[in-house]
């Protein structure tokens, strides 16, 4: 690969090892929801950089617009009104999009070689030219992120601006965020930054503040600072403990070698049975009996 920033760590539907000689820095985007004002500049920047134009939708009675991610909207702001005795009414705003899992469920489920790539820097990217449109990535994703285009049946999602990151720029959403809610850098630095912010939030009375970097998917390369890290689901259904579903792990794990071995055993079993036991011919006795019966008939 020409650019070290695009070294591949994992490739969909590929059973052999990726190149590993070079070590590259793992990156991460940190979204501090406590600093987010819900202005949607990130949504606009994402559309602009990626040349996406979603249809003008309808108002669903909330600020959520568009109301869900689509093949044209790779990130959307989700607004949750949450009431608690302790804090009263809180407006919890979360920028939703691909989490760039260390162990991506989409990549595990994908049957098309090279349609989903995880770069050595941690970014998970869809390569639409290899996508066959089966939607297995949707089935595999623990965060309900990939969207299949109705026009071309290809899967789309946030690329973490892999094209920008490859040449040393930060993602478009990070660039425009007016409150500094979104940061980008090495995963290690982002964790440190998060820790400082969590300490601050705790001092300000958010005793459950914390970093969302779920271990169930091996950690993510998009992380959140949450003021209620004990209940991620408050933030418009962010999964509390996301993992690749056991059904997906079975389907894409153990089932594959087991089924192949079973099919091979059946085919080889047949061949060797024929070779060792011989064919099941009609016996001479029965043939003679039938001859006699026919003679008698005449």
């Amino acid at each position: 690969m020409a650019l070290q920033s695009l070294d591949i760590a994992k490739r969909s539907a590929t059973t052999t090892e990726p190149p590993q000689a070079r070590k590259t820095l793992e990156v991460a985007k940190l979204i501090d929801v406590s600093k987010c004002i819900g202005c949607k500049a990130c949504q606009v920047a994402c559309m602009q950089w990626n040349d996406l134009r979603d249809e003008v939708g309808t108002c669903g009675g909330t600020y959520d617009n568009p109301t869900d991610m689509t093949d044209q909207s790779w990130t959307v702001m989700r607004y949750a009104e949450v009431e608690s005795e302790e804090k009263g009414l809180e407006w919890l705003i979360r920028k939703d999009g691909c989490m760039h899992c260390e162990d991506p469920g989409c990549l595990k489920a994908c049957p098309a070689p090279g349609a989903i790539i995880k770069y050595a820097n941690g970014i998970v990217d869809f390569h639409q030219e290899n996508c066959i449109g089966c939607g297995y990535c949707v089935t595999g994703c623990p965060f309900n992120v990939p969207r299949i285009s109705k026009k071309d049946s290809k899967a789309y999602k946030c690329t973490l601006c892999s094209d920008r990151v490859a040449v040393g720029l930060e993602p478009a959403c990070v660039k425009v965020c007016p409150t500094g809610s979104i940061s980008f850098g090495s995963k290690e630095d982002m964790k440190e930054l998060a820790e400082e912010r969590v300490t601050e939030l705790k001092e300000r009375g958010f005793k459950n503040a914390g970093l969302y970097d779920p271990a169930g998917v091996g950690g993510t390369h998009v992380m959140y600072v949450l003021n209620h890290a004990d209940k991620p689901s408050l933030y418009s259904g962010l999964p509390d403990d996301p993992t690749i579903a056991p059904t997906v792990s079975l389907w894409k794990g153990f089932a594959k070698p087991l089924a192949m071995a079973g099919i091979a055993a059946a085919a080889l079993g047949g061949l060797f049975h024929y070779v060792m036991k011989g064919p099941n011919e009609v016996s001479k006795e029965v043939e003679a009996e039938v001859e006699k019966e026919l003679e008698a008939e005449k």
Binding site: P111, G133, S153, V282
Partner: protein, 208 residues
């Protein structure tokens, strides 16, 4: 087209055509399904015009197979009811596989093994059809919750794998028992074949 006037008709033309439509669909489905199941077999998508075409075609072929399978199922259902002698046959099947069929009980048109395969295929086709609809992303997946789609994907793969194994056994049995394949090609079997392998059916159709 009877080769020998004394040969026995086992399948009529319509039954044979029905079986071959199902058989061809099965081969296309197994090849395209395996291509999307295991990365090592992805090159099989080349047989169907590439990965995208494989994804598009597979479910439509599945629907055609289901239609013709249902037709065949109801055609042969009454001949595949398991009886005591069928279970006795199943118990002794190992002796026959080892090459000694002297102690096998007399069988009608189908033996216990064929009947069990018939019912297994009925179940497998039902599961594959329902789970196939659920994971058919282009038209149906959005009607189902994600947990159901995931379960559908596992069941579809599991039943397909077992069904492929079952069909390998089915085809091998037809090759192993000499004089069988012609029944599905031009419909007849020799009297000796019938008397050896399906004696009760032989008596029934010849009156001997």
């Amino acid at each position: 087209m009877i080769r020998d006037p004394s040969d026995l008709q086992r399948y009529n033309a319509s039954e044979r055509a029905n079986h071959w439509v199902v058989g061809i669909c099965f081969i296309l489905l197994a090849l395209s399904g395996l291509a999307l199941f295991h990365p090592a077999l992805f090159p099989l998508t080349g047989l169907f015009g590439g990965g995208v075409w494989t994804r598009i075609l597979h479910p439509f072929v599945g629907v055609v197979m289901m239609l013709f399978f249902v037709l065949m199922f109801f055609r042969f259902k009454h001949l595949n009811q398991m009886g005591d002698t069928d279970w006795e046959w199943v118990k002794r099947a190992k002796e026959m596989v080892d090459g000694d069929d002297h102690n096998m009980p007399e069988m009608g048109k189908y033996n216990g093994g064929q009947k069990l395969l018939f019912w297994f295929l009925g179940l497998a086709m039902l599961v594959l059809f329902v789970s196939g609809i659920i994971i058919w992303r282009a038209y149906f997946s959005h009607y189902f919750p994600i947990g159901v789609i995931r379960l559908g994907a596992v069941l579809h793969a599991a039943f397909a794998a077992v069904m492929i194994i079952a069909i390998i056994v089915h085809v091998y049995a037809a090759i192993w028992v000499r004089g069988t394949i012609r029944a599905m090609l031009y419909g007849t079997v020799t009297r000796a074949w019938a008397k050896q392998h399906h004696r009760a059916w032989y008596r029934q159709v010849t009156g001997k």
